[in-house]
């Protein structure tokens, strides 16, 4: 049978073992092989490939973060997205349709205009739009002043957009497999030894171990004997039935906790804020969906006629400053890439690139340096709660 990747049995030992075959794990494996010539690599996945958050996110890609450190890593990622189809020789339906972040009150306006200026200073495309300009871009939006949370303007990043998440995972998986990486599904890591992992498919030796397990990273860290400043929360999303094209950009609203785009097939894809409590159940509380839809219908009255087809949740690893944690750990030869929280999809190629370099060289990539675990001791946090766009 002609498949996109082999399904090999694990070898006794690898130079690098990556734990987690989501987008970040697959991208890391690809760039380890492509950029660093390290091909004796396994990606271990307890379930099926890209079946966790990679299958559950709302696929928004953007780089309009506030601080220099964040703009650098997210913009690096966006630049990689712009040539990723050619790089992987695989269609991913990357569509640079722009992202609007709406402002609904004066603090939102001030924060938004500040962020536009910060973005421009960092070479990230950004514009401030008035309500009338928002309306021109999105004719179905309600900019009436009578709304409970009126639209008072928006930031706009034209180069932002969406991609087809499954195709991204398959593209990276196929490309990594062709370079010799072993993708091993149904292989759960159950414990660690020095330079080895214990798994449901036996012991596997590992020169270096790279965690890429998003919401389950804390569990692995506990097995390794160190703590992380992460809390795992449900993050819910939903889709409508397939509709005629009505929305050709991504609209996000931090204040009313909804973000929406229309996928290529026609379904409206919507996300909400996280559920407040810790949870690994891949489901959240219904009132979060109710609030999100109330906000969406107020902003887009036409949506009142749409139906919810399916809802679900992922398990997101939220860090105290809404920024990722990338780099070394207290355990030799063990590396982490986690804490991407509600926004990891957009970072897929960038995180993979930077993490692969960090693993290959045994020191943080320059773009990863500000995101080391040590920042929680030094106090040099990278607070992106404003730009993270999803309420935490």
């Amino acid at each position: 049978m002609n498949t996109l990747w082999r399904n090999p049995d694990p070898k006794p030992t690898y130079d690098v073992v990556i734990v987690g075959a989501g987008g970040h794990g697959l991208a890391t494996a690809y760039y380890l092989a492509k950029n660093h010539g390290i091909t004796n690599v396994a990606v271990l996945e307890r379930g099926w490939l890209a079946g966790g958050n990679m299958a559950r996110n709302t696929t928004v890609i953007r780089s309009n973060y506030l601080w220099d450190q964040s703009a650098a890593i997210y913009e690096h990622s966006l630049k990689l997205w712009e040539t990723l189809e050619q790089e992987l020789d695989y269609e991913i339906l990357f569509s640079q349709r722009g992202v609007l972040n709406l402002a609904h009150n004066l603090p939102d306006v001030r924060e938004g205009t500040r962020r536009v200026n910060a973005n421009r200073l960092n070479g990230v495309d950004a514009e401030w739009l008035t309500p009338a300009e928002v309306k021109k871009l999105v004719p179905i939006i309600n900019i009436s002043e009578d709304l409970r949370y009126p639209v008072m303007g928006a930031t706009f990043q034209p180069r932002a957009g969406i991609a087809k998440h499954d195709y991204v995972a398959w593209g990276f998986a196929r490309a990594a497999d062709r370079l010799g990486v072993d993708l091993i599904q149904n292989c759960e890591v159950t414990g660690f030894e020095t330079n080895a992992v214990q798994t449901s498919r036996g012991r596997i030796g590992a020169g270096r171990i790279a965690l890429c397990a998003a919401g389950h990273t804390s569990i692995l860290a506990a097995q390794l004997g160190f703590r992380l400043p992460l809390q795992s929360h449900p993050l819910q999303a939903l889709v409508s039935e397939l509709l005629e094209p009505v929305l050709n950009t991504v609209v996000m609203s931090n204040a009313v906790h909804v973000y929406v785009s229309q996928a290529h097939k026609g379904e409206l894809v919507m996300g909400a804020g996280i559920d407040a409590y810790n949870g690994y159940g891949q489901r959240g509380s219904f009132h979060v969906i109710e609030n999100q839809l109330a906000a969406a219908v107020e902003l887009f009255p036409i949506f009142a006629r749409a139906h919810v087809l399916r809802t679900w949740a992922g398990v997101v690893d939220v860090s105290p400053d809404a920024s990722p944690i990338i780099g070394r750990t207290p355990v030799d030869d063990v590396f982490i890439n986690c804490g991407w929280g509600t926004g990891g999809f957009k970072a897929t190629p960038g995180a993979g690139w930077v993490y692969a370099d960090t693993i290959a060289n045994g020191r943080p990539h320059p773009l990863a340096e500000p995101f080391a675990l040590e920042r929680f001791t030094s106090g040099a946090l990278v607070d992106e709660h404003g730009a993270a766009a999803v309420a935490h």
């Binding site: 389950h216 703590r227 809390q231 810790n278 159940g281 009132h287 105290p320 929680f376």
Partner: protein, 80 residues
């Protein structure tokens, strides 16, 4: 939506409550002597188990009191 047993008001909807995270994290007994590592541990590090978790809830729309309960982070079942 969770149904949360407030010890003072009885079972109420989750929307009446504010979540407070891990229970039993005591303020440092002698804060002036803490190292940076110990401060990081107190301020940022929290358990994040997949299973039973002792956590704090605040009954914002009711008695306005904090209380602890144990909740399972996979099944979301609650026990006191």
């Amino acid at each position: 939506m969770l149904s949360i047993p407030c010890p003072h008001c009885g079972d109420r909807d989750e929307t009446e409550f504010h979540y407070g995270g891990q229970a039993g994290v005591a303020y440092p007994a002698d804060p002036m002597t803490l190292t940076d590592e110990q401060w990081a541990e107190y301020v940022f590090m929290r358990d994040n188990p997949k299973g039973w978790f002792a956590e704090r809830w605040f009954h914002t729309a009711g008695c306005r009191r904090w209380f602890d309960l144990e909740r399972h982070t996979v099944t979301y079942e609650i026990r006191r």
